[in-house]
């Protein structure tokens, strides 16, 4: 069902935890759908120097959270904003069709944390203008 990469990130998730006094915190998903992702960013000079996550959800929700944190750690805020759910899926060597929504959630969690950071710092980040972290991508993505 899942690739080895997914299983690896599920069983040995990177960057689990919280960051005290994080510069940006994002939380997406809801218990109804069975996935909640919370992401914490430590940002220094426009660079993501640390990132942690906590996820309630299925195996792929945990794996996508984990790999997303790896993919943005050490990147600039602008680079992190480029992260797409597609890139997450590819980095995991694919996801089953009905689990694609997890990758969308991971992308949203990152963006949501970056939005929080932007708001706190009164920044305008290109690419977040239209982003609404409360929007439910779930039921569109799940159709297959």
């Amino acid at each position: 069902m899942y690739s080895d990469k997914v299983m690896d990130h599920f069983m040995n998730p990177r960057n689990v935890g919280e960051i005290e006094n994080a510069d940006g915190i994002g939380e997406v998903g809801n218990a109804k759908c069975g996935d909640i992702m919370k992401m914490y960013l430590k940002i220094d000079d426009g660079v993501i120097v640390d990132v942690k996550f906590k996820t309630f959800g299925c195996g792929s929700a945990i794996a996508t959270s984990s790999i997303a944190t790896e993919m943005i750690k050490g990147k600039t805020v602008e680079e992190a904003l480029q992260l797409t759910n597609r890139a997450v899926v590819e980095a995991l060597d694919g996801l089953p069709a009905q689990k694609i929504h997890c990758s969308v959630l991971a992308e949203q969690a990152v963006k949501s944390a970056l939005l929080d950071y932007a708001r706190k710092n009164s920044l305008q980040l290109a690419g977040l203008e239209d982003f609404d972290p409360t929007e439910d991508h779930h039921h569109h993505e799940e159709e297959h």
């Binding site: 689990v16 218990a31 109804k32 759908c33 069975g34 906590k54 309630f56 299925c58 945990i62 799940e142």
Partner: protein, 393 residues
């Protein structure tokens, strides 16, 4: 080899060696078509007759009231559609429950699109229907009551005898999906006033792809599969000879060993439940504390999600299920758990462990040793658990 602990007997069971031994000659040697009049056909026919008797005996029915099908789902579909269409002139109302297997629910939904009306009875927090609800749901147009004997997810057993009594008084046909109950509860169709009953072999250490529908003599029903004259013209198709032989043997074994089986699985199941309740916090048992299948345990672990729990257990060689096997992969929590009134959050964190004849005490010890660690690991990752630890809950 890696340790493998199978605790998903409600999804399917391994076949018993005795069952396989019984079936083996019918694949390559005694392979005749039971409808043929030559000796190959006759020996096949005899084997089927014997199996039909074994099955009939195990539920207190007559042999000619047993009709073999391709499985439990076919039996459910046949019973419900067959009775509905055969009694269309009498009425169009069917009563069932919210926690039936999808083979019943989706069939009822299909009939709703085709002019039938269906009442889905609520269940209480333990999964049992209220007898008064049933009574008041029956009306003049009611032609069928279809209620499962025991639920596949939470193991809750319905008050079938009382339902049968009411159905009989009100002269409504009563179908029972006994796919999970068979082999776990002594069933006598006459004592219970059951008119039709669905069975499936692979849940009782028999082969997959074979089931049966008990149809009380005199009950009018349409066929689901038309064609040849097999099964006394009611279910067409060359008989699944080895499957039928295996089902007969499995039914006979289930009947013989019923007491010992119940005792064996219950002791282990109770040990499992007790152990988990002691070792893990924020956990509850789904389903009825007493009226439940002897091998069924269904836990709701707060703050974590079922699939990640399953996957983690699978990595340790422990096979369980969340929701029913059929609906896993779906994103919605099981309709059964929702019907109990559980919140989505709690329903998502459910784990069904079902115990069977090959389960050992070591298996349970292993689960009791590993499961709490898995739950803890996932909770440490969960943003919901944070709040509890932080005293926010």
């Amino acid at each position: 080899m890696k340790k493998r602990v199978y605790l998903d007997y409600s999804a399917t069971t391994p076949m018993k060696q005795e069952v396989l031994d019984e079936m083996l000659p019918y694949f390559t040697e005694k392979f005749g078509n039971p409808s043929s009049i030559h000796s190959f056909g006759r020996e096949a026919k005899q084997a089927i007759d014997l199996s039909r008797e074994q099955l009939a005996k195990s539920i207190g029915a007559k042999a000619d009231e047993i009709f073999f099908t391709g499985g439990g789902s076919e039996a459910d579909n046949w019973a419900i559609k067959g009775i509905a269409y055969a009694n269309r002139d009498k009425g169009n109302h069917i009563i069932t429950t919210k926690i039936e297997h999808h083979a019943v629910l989706h069939t009822c939904e299909y009939l709703e699109k085709n002019g039938f009306e269906v009442t889905y009875l609520e269940v209480d927090a333990h999964g049992r229907i209220n007898i008064d609800d049933l009574k008041s749901a029956i009306k003049d147009q009611t032609i069928l009551i279809t209620i499962m004997f025991a639920n596949n997810e939470i193991g809750t057993i319905q008050p079938i005898k009382e339902i049968g009594q009411i159905a009989k008084e009100k002269k409504v046909i009563f179908h029972v999906d006994a796919v999970q109950a068979f082999g776990n509860i002594k069933i006598n169709v006459n004592d219970l006033n059951i008119d039709l009953m669905s069975l499936s072999a692979h849940k009782v250490y028999g082969p997959k792809g074979i089931g049966a529908l008990y149809i009380r003599k005199g009950v009018k029903i349409h066929s689901l599969i038309h064609g040849g004259a097999q099964e006394r013209r009611r279910r067409a198709g060359t008989e699944n000879l080895p499957g039928i032989v295996g089902f007969g043997k499995a039914a006979a074994l289930a009947d013989e060993n019923l007491e010992a089986h119940i005792q064996h699985v219950k002791v282990l199941r109770d040990k499992l439940i007790k152990g988990i309740m002691e070792k893990v916090g924020y956990v509850r048992l789904n389903g009825h504390p007493e009226h439940r299948l002897p091998g069924n345990a269904n836990f709701a672990f707060e703050f974590i999600e079922g699939e990640s729990l399953l996957l983690s257990l699978d990595m340790l060689g422990i096979a369980g299920s969340s929701g029913s096997a059929c609906t896993s992969g779906s994103l919605d929590p099981s309709h059964v758990l929702m019907a109990l009134g559980l919140s989505h959050e709690i329903a998502h964190g459910s784990l069904r462990l079902t115990i069977g004849d090959f389960t050992t005490e070591e298996d349970i010890d292993y689960v009791l040793q590993e499961l709490p660690k898995v739950v803890d690991r996932l909770r440490q990752m969960s943003p919901l658990y944070e709040k509890v630890k932080g005293g926010q809950k």
